[in-house]
């Protein structure tokens, strides 16, 4: 009697579970069958009326039916949940090709970028990075660098003079002097910064540009060291082996003074229009620090030696990125600056 009731409930419930079309219908089945007042509980109450000898078998039967129904329910319930999640997620479709809100990454000025690169390089060589004022005294810009008043070398740098007698520094070399005034040798330093020349502006001339001055003072510093150092440095800057040569160049604050040329990066020394077929490109002035300069800064030239060089940062930036008009660098045009 009970046996048939149980099997009827089981098959009937499983059929209802299987045919439930919605999560709500399924829930109704759970309430009807598995709920506190559901059919299974009814049957289990009736079972309690059976004689004790029949109870174990009947209980087993009922439990098996309950488990079968619960398993079917859970499976079906999970199916509805999965479907619902799928539907929700599908509805959340997004066009990821749309532009995101908010600003894009900004761009650092190309001079800033190359300057940082060079600064890091020098710091790794143990160089200090020093700063100096953009408005300089005549003494620091010229006299202390062995360029006295009325020396024709002053013509090499057309100067912006300020009312009152100071000037806009024409090179970063005065920071050498300030470095020597501030630190005792041995000394390794660079000074990147803005410099000024009283020149009309065109595609290849600017009145405002950037240099990196470098100096090393130690007991034993020779031309051989200078060449080694410049070669190592330039290889790191250009990220390739560079061929360098030194030839005489006149700069009053060094003796001997050099122009350093590198093999043209376009033709690798074979000759091309960029290097005017010479295979060489003039890159930077350098030399051994003139003993007068050391002496003026209170350093004994018999004991200490040094080399110094000046790297044209603006020029390097133009070479690196193939910029053919120097005016772009200080033109503030974002269509240009956003390329870097």
């Amino acid at each position: 009697m009970l046996e048939s009731q149980v099997s009827e409930l089981q098959s009937g419930s499983l059929a209802r579970i299987a045919s439930a079309a919605t999560a709500a219908e399924l829930e109704q089945v759970r309430v009807d069958v598995l709920g506190r007042k559901g059919s299974l509980n009814q049957l289990s109450k009736e079972m309690s009326k059976l004689p004790p000898a029949e109870k174990p078998a009947a209980g087993k039967l009922l439990n098996a039916a309950k488990q079968a129904i619960e398993t079917a329910f859970d499976t079906r319930h999970q199916q509805f949940a999965d479907a619902a999640l799928r539907a929700r997620l599908d509805a959340e479709w997004l066009d990821l090709t749309l532009p995101p809100p908010g600003p894009r990454l900004g761009h650092l000025h190309p001079i800033t970028q190359i300057r940082s690169e060079i600064e890091e390089l020098f710091v790794s060589f143990g160089f200090a990075i020093l700063d100096g004022p953009e408005v300089e005294t005549e003494y620091h810009n010229f006299d202390a660098l062995n360029i006295p008043a009325d020396h024709p070398a002053r013509d090499m740098q057309d100067t912006f003079w300020l009312t009152g007698g100071n000037l806009l520094r024409t090179h970063t070399s005065p920071v050498q002097v300030r470095g020597m005034e501030r630190y005792q040798p041995p000394l390794r330093m660079i000074a990147p910064g803005r410099v000024f020349r009283n020149e009309s502006v065109d595609a290849s001339h600017e009145h405002t540009f950037y240099q990196v001055e470098g100096m090393m003072i130690d007991r034993e510093v020779s031309v051989a060291h200078l060449i080694y150092f410049m070669k190592t440095l330039l290889t790191a800057i250009f990220k390739r082996e560079v061929t360098v040569r030194l030839r005489p160049g006149f700069f009053p604050f060094v003796e001997p003074g050099f122009e350093l040329d590198i093999h043209c990066l376009i033709c690798d020394g074979a000759g091309c229009p960029v290097c005017k077929q010479s295979g060489w490109v003039e890159l930077l002035p350098c030399g051994l620090v003139n003993p007068n300069v050391l002496r003026m800064s209170g350093i004994d030239p018999e004991e200490w030696n040094g080399f110094a060089f000046g790297l044209g940062l603006t020029r390097l930036v133009m070479m690196r990125y193939g910029i053919d008009d120097i005016r772009l660098l200080q033109g503030g045009d974002l269509r240009f600056l956003n390329q870097f």
């Binding site: 900004g106 650092l108 001079i111 004022p133 100071n166 806009l168 051989a224 005489p248």
Partner: protein, 768 residues
């Protein structure tokens, strides 16, 4: 400066190195060459030719000339020169056949300008040569151009003979000296020289010539001058220029008959004196200018230019030839003050060799014989000079030389190099040379042993020095915190979408005024390129404003920034350079509110915990949208919207004084323990006037909340019904807690009640 290969070859025996190779060698060992130019190419094949006949070419000013052209035979050429006439001997150049006005013209008759001999293009050259003869002393030449800057320190290289000395030393060829000092007779001079200050004029030498004929120079001389860029004028002037170009010794010729008296002074000008110079300009002089004067006054500006009144003319028959030496600084000052740079002043300002004055005169005597046959030297040399003291020899330790170059050079090679450059070398001690310096290198160029390092180094070739790694101490360099600080700010701004610009340090008066600055408050440039670039910026804003208006032409929205220095006048010493950061955020559309708050967000990224305090707007600021930026107790900058009259669209701007900001930046951080006991939060809404600052309300609430307040956050604000017109309700969420325990709900309630009571005491109603 231009150098003629042929001219150099006159002094360097056996010179056969091609010009291009010579240029390279000079560049590597002496001075920078800027290129080679071939001149007089037509001269290679040109010859003297006689015009046999001429026939007019109808309808043109040309003639058809039949010429007898030596080895080229009889040629028909069309010629437009007015002096093309039958019987004249001119220069024929076989340049090929072309048809001119329907006539086959085979080759050409050439003018001096066409051949490169001089600048005379008015007519064809007229020669006194045999038909068919090559043009006398004229051949194609290579002109090597040297960068003037690279010979600033070498007075001797401002003439061909000096350059020839270098070439001879480089190549190892013998050098020929064109000077014959014996050309100057030893007899009393006809002029007297007076030099009151021998420091300003260390030497003045002169010769007097009579029976001079002023006429054009021989063609070879005209060609030489033309080839190096000088303009042939007449034989006397050309002679002085020739000696200058050869010996680096500037000279001047006075018409002796136009001089007043027999005494020549080299003296400072007197106040009020003036001179009309050869260029027919009048120059007012002062005692800082050295002049050459006769009894009547200045006849030349010493070392710069001659006077018009005593200049050589076609009528000149007697000349005084000046060959002097002047103090470089004095000449340079005068030349700069008068804005008059001449071939002479360029040389004198390099410190010329006083020994050279007489050498120049001796050379001139020889040349004058050729350019003005019959000219007669009268009397001997007038020569007034400061006693010349030979500089002491330089002691050159050879091991020191090795230490400097980083490579040993055999003593014999050092000696050979120096001797070829005319230094005197003796071994004063083992391993030590005593070196005497030739007079032309001793004026400024070479005085210490370091200078000799360069002489040896350049001649052995720097390529011969093996690069060597320096042995240096491994040390950590002193940090530059300012740079790190600025780099971090740059990176942060770029990450927030700002692009970095670099602007000039100059501003115009108009731009300065637009931003409320008085032009007089600026540091000013005494010699600006243009009048609108005469002030040094007191603020980065004027240029940023320009960036905004320029970029707004192309872009609807953008962000940019600059880190640069403001330059402020200071009472003493150098101006105060204060690094500022200015960032700008531009939107073409909108009411500007969004941009300002975005800029405030960015400001708070830069300045965590910073606050804005609304402040009275400046002329260029939106009158209702300007605030001081407060940070760690300092007013570090300004945040505002650019006044809408200055820009189409909206621009939010942040301007921060980085020096002040860096000084306030925390150097150290300490950890605070995280609270262990839960905090409680509640909301309060304050009713206030619509322009009441939320920041002010927040401060008041915080004050009444007392020490248990952990945080107070703005939630929202509301205006509209049921609030009265002109009122708003501002809601805040307050979080209170204790480090020791969990607050009871009664305690939280007391804090809340205390706030409400306090605010009511200030006249605020609260919506609770």
């Amino acid at each position: 400066l231009k150098f003629s290969y042929n001219w150099i070859r006159e002094f360097v025996e056996g010179l056969d190195t091609p010009a291009a190779e010579l240029e390279r060698r000079i560049t590597m060992k002496t001075a920078e060459c800027e290129g080679i130019e071939t001149v007089g190419a037509l001269l290679a094949d040109a010859c003297a030719a006689r015009v046999e006949s001429v026939a007019p070419l109808d309808g043109t000013h040309n003639v058809v000339a039949v010429v007898e052209a030596g080895r080229y035979g009889r040629k028909t050429v069309v010629c437009g020169a007015p002096n093309c006439r039958s019987g004249v001997v001119s220069a024929y150049a076989p340049v090929g056949v072309k048809t001119v006005y329907g006539v086959q013209s085979d080759g050409m008759l050439a003018s001096g300008a066409e051949l490169g001999i001089n600048r005379d293009a008015a007519g064809i050259l007229e020669l006194e040569s045999q038909t068919g003869a090559p043009l006398p002393g004229l051949a194609p030449d290579n002109i090597i151009e040297i960068d003037n800057k690279s010979i600033t320190h070498r007075p001797d290289l401002w003439g061909h003979h000096g350059m020839a000395r270098e070439v001879a030393a480089i190549l190892g060829n013998p050098l020929r000296d064109p000077v014959k000092l014996e050309s100057i007779p030893d007899s009393p001079s006809r002029v007297r020289i007076e030099i009151p200050d021998l420091d300003l004029c260390p030497r003045y030498s002169a010769l007097v010539f009579e029976n001079v004929t002023v006429k054009p120079s021989p063609l070879w001389l005209q060609y030489r001058l033309t080839a190096i860029g000088l303009n042939p004028i007449n034989n006397i002037v050309d002679l002085t220029n020739y000696v200058m170009a050869e010996m680096a010794q500037p000279m001047h010729a006075f018409d002796r008959d136009l001089l007043r008296g027999n005494t020549i002074w080299a003296r400072p000008a007197r106040a009020g004196e003036f001179i009309v110079a050869l260029n027919e300009e009048r120059y007012d002089l002062n005692p800082a200018n050295l002049v050459i004067a006769d009894a009547g006054g200045p006849i030349a500006i010493a070392g710069v230019i001659g006077g018009y009144d005593s200049a050589i003319t076609g009528a000149t028959t007697s000349i005084v030839l000046e060959s002097a030496n002047f103090q470089a600084a004095s000449i340079r000052k005068t030349s700069a003050a008068l804005k008059l740079r001449t071939d002479a002043s360029m040389r004198f300002e390099k410190s010329q060799d006083p020994v050279n004055t007489v050498r120049g005169l001796a050379r001139a005597v020889e040349l004058l014989r050729e350019v003005s046959p019959g000219a007669r030297l009268v009397g001997g040399l007038a020569d007034c000079m400061k006693p010349m003291v030979a500089p002491p020899p330089i002691s050159l330790p050879l091991d020191w030389l090795t230490r400097k170059l980083g490579r040993p050079v055999p003593p014999s090679e050092v000696r050979e190099i120096l001797e070829r450059l005319a230094f005197g070398v003796s071994e004063s001690a083992p391993g030590r040379f005593s070196v005497t310096v030739p007079s032309w290198r001793a004026t400024k160029d070479i005085s210490v042993k370091d200078d000799l390092v360069e002489e040896v180094g350049r001649m052995i070739g720097y390529d011969s020095i093996e690069p060597r790694a320096p042995a240096i101490l491994a040390t950590v360099p002193p940090a530059n915190e300012e740079r790190v600080f600025q780099q971090n700010l740059r990176a942060l701004l770029a990450a927030q979408g700002f692009t970095e610009v670099y602007n000039y340090s100059f501003v115009s008066e108009d731009a300065a005024r637009a931003f409320g600055f008085e032009p007089a408050d600026h540091v000013t440039v005494a010699n600006p390129i243009a009048s609108d670039q005469a002030l040094l910026r007191l603020s980065l804003l004027p240029e940023i404003w320009k960036n905004i208006t320029e970029n707004a032409k192309h872009l609807d929205t953008f962000r940019l920034f600059e880190i640069g220095r403001e330059i402020h006048k200071s009472a003493e010493g150098l101006p105060d350079e204060i690094t500022h950061l200015v960032a700008a955020l531009y939107n073409k559309e909108g009411d500007g509110r969004e941009g300002l708050f975005e800029m405030k967000r960015v400001a708070l990224c830069l300045l965590p915990g910073g606050e804005l305090r609304p402040a009275e707007a400046r002329a260029y600021e939106h009158p209702a949208r300007a605030a001081d930026v407060l940070w760690r107790g300092g007013t570090v900058g300004r945040l505002f919207e650019l006044h809408p009259r200055l820009v189409e669209g909206r621009a939010a701007i942040l301007d921060i004084d980085l020096r002040l900001m860096e000084s306030l930046a925390a150097r150290e951080k300490r950890y605070t323990p995280i609270r262990r006991y839960p905090a409680s939060a509640f909301d309060l809404s304050v009713i206030a006037g619509v322009r009441e600052l939320a920041g002010g309300l927040s401060d008041k609430l915080a004050r009444f909340a007392g020490p248990m307040l952990e945080s107070i956050e703005y939630v929202r604000e509301y205006s509209g019904p049921p609030l009265a017109e002109g009122q708003k309700s501002v809601s805040f969420r307050l979080t209170v807690g204790s480090a020791e325990r969990t607050l009871s709900s009664e305690e939280v309630g007391q804090i809340r009640a205390g706030i409400i009571e306090g605010m009511r005491g200030l006249g605020y109603e609260l919506r609770v």
